[in-house]
Symmetry: C2
């Protein structure tokens, strides 16, 4: 997505300016969180789609920044540590500044992004944004209520992935279609494209948590399972596991740590059942659906980039 680079810099500048207008503690924690990087995938998609539909103005910068602010708000709130669950420590915003400031940083990012959308009076876009935000929050709630459970189904997993991740991807891709009435015809395709790309992305993300190594991921392997969250490969593998193997997985999910079982051993088991390649197939099918949807869009560099995006997502190793 080479052509969006310069505008992505403007998005960064927009976010920096916003943070600097906030109270000192927001400036500090906010710049720490944003300077940590991240793939800026959602703003990049929004910028790319804006060019695809032929948009020439500056709203894309604002909404790309908003999307990244909303995304970051969910990330920092996701890092709030439960007092029942102190063992998972990592250098998240929360471990540096405590839960209280972290919760306020997330609140500030959510509310400020709504306020920034209000400045430009675009009710339809605000509806898309707030609906995606509600979906994300409800996806997290659903995920939380299934924590520690080993009877989660593929349907439940996909429902959570859709709400938690895919709906914001969908919003990022659909918003530019609302920049002018003449782009409206693209909205449904772009929205569905983003949803499928988001599902592909989330499954790959979950796969990497099981197959990657700590140095690449920046967090321990199996961190989802350590938090009691079963992801697609495990859900697919469990019915094929022996009762003892299932027992061992349930224990990690319950205790939040590997004790009787080695992570490498579990990776081996998953690999033997074919769960990794099966999950990859599912990710691939969403990626292919996204690519097919993108193919129907107007020809050009932007369309090619959207068609190619799922392959980049599928190829990433961290």
């Amino acid at each position: 997505m080479v052509t969006v680079e310069p505008r992505l810099k403007l998005v960064e500048a927009f976010i920096t300016r916003e943070l600097q207008a906030g109270p000192e503690a927001i400036q500090q924690t906010g710049s720490y969180v944003f300077s940590a990087g991240g793939k800026r995938l959602r703003p990049a998609l929004l910028l790319l789609v804006s060019r695809l539909v032929g948009y020439q103005g500056d709203k894309d910068i604002r909404y790309a920044a908003l999307i990244e602010m909303v995304h970051t708000a969910t990330l920092v709130h996701d890092d709030i540590i439960d007092h029942a669950n102190l063992r998972r420590g990592r250098a998240s915003a929360n471990s540096r500044w405590g839960n209280q400031l972290t919760v306020l940083l997330g609140d500030w990012l959510y509310t400020r992004s709504m306020e920034l959308a209000l400045e430009v009076d675009d009710l339809d876009i605000m509806r898309v944004l707030s609906r995606a935000t509600i979906e994300m929050i409800e996806g997290e709630v659903l995920g939380l209520s299934l924590k520690g459970r080993t009877d989660i189904t593929v349907e439940q997993y996909l429902e959570i992935a859709r709400r938690k991740t895919a709906e914001l991807f969908s919003a990022a891709c659909a918003i530019p279609a609302l920049f002018a009435p003449e782009y409206a015809g693209f909205r449904a395709t772009l929205s569905e494209y983003g949803r499928n790309l988001g599902l592909c992305f989330q499954i790959v993300d979950d796969l990497l948590d099981l197959t990657g190594d700590q140095d690449h991921l920046g967090k321990p392997v199996f961190s989802d399972l350590r938090e009691g969250k079963l992801t697609l490969p495990l859900i697919l593998a469990l019915p094929k596991f022996s009762p003892e193997q299932r027992q061992a997985v349930a224990e990690v999910a319950r205790e939040g740590a590997f004790s009787g079982l080695e992570p490498q051993e579990l990776q081996q088991w998953l690999s033997e059942t074919g769960a990794f390649s099966q999950a990859r197939e599912v990710a691939l099918s969403f990626g292919e659906k996204a690519a097919a949807l993108a193919s129907s869009l107007p020809a050009g560099f932007e369309r090619d980039a959207l068609v190619a995006a799922p392959w980049f997502v599928l190829e990433r190793d961290h």
Copy 2:
């Protein structure tokens, strides 16, 4: 505020309906939090002002519910426990369901209330709501950054109280003036009335935390100081305290607990310096300002209730 009772019931029903449309975990935690009661002061003010301006429709129910949802969101987020600060345990939502679900409940309430405002397309009201929300969050951030500090000034205290509390009171009172163009002339007075009433309310609230008893308050006396927060009476008293007395207060603020000093002893010291009555005078002056502003509004039962509201706030004992 007897005449708003029936409409307040509709507000409760609105909130209940909203919660029931959410995921199960939101229903459960949400109804727990709302059923705990609360004075419903902000929605009552909004309903009262709606009648005062002569509004006949149903928007007042919706916005009264939204205001209470936003208020509740801040309350539940305020209860998120810091891992550095586990000692303060109480039967908050967070101690029943953990930080993670509590943070999501707050996020859901914030975002859903924005979405409910979007359903009725009122951009000006949304701006008032989101500005008040940002002010609240920034007020909390400011308060947090001064936690444990004993050099906080009266100006800083009032700034925090204004942002954290008074701006939402102000929004509750100003919103009905935006229901129709012919009410617009009342907006500035109502907004300023709410702000002054809110400041009066917050100072009284802080006074009660220092003078009340646990049974009435539903929480231990000096809970603010135990959280490292100095409120008006203490700020006014500190310069009159001896170095040893100041030292003792600083220790409670730092350690989050009374060890060398008895709460009754500190109450005695505060009483001796006249800090309680001095703080009460400040609350009174904001109450009087509010009452004077209300007096300029159209005559009738509603105006009388608004004029009387500060006296109820000043008289309350829990």
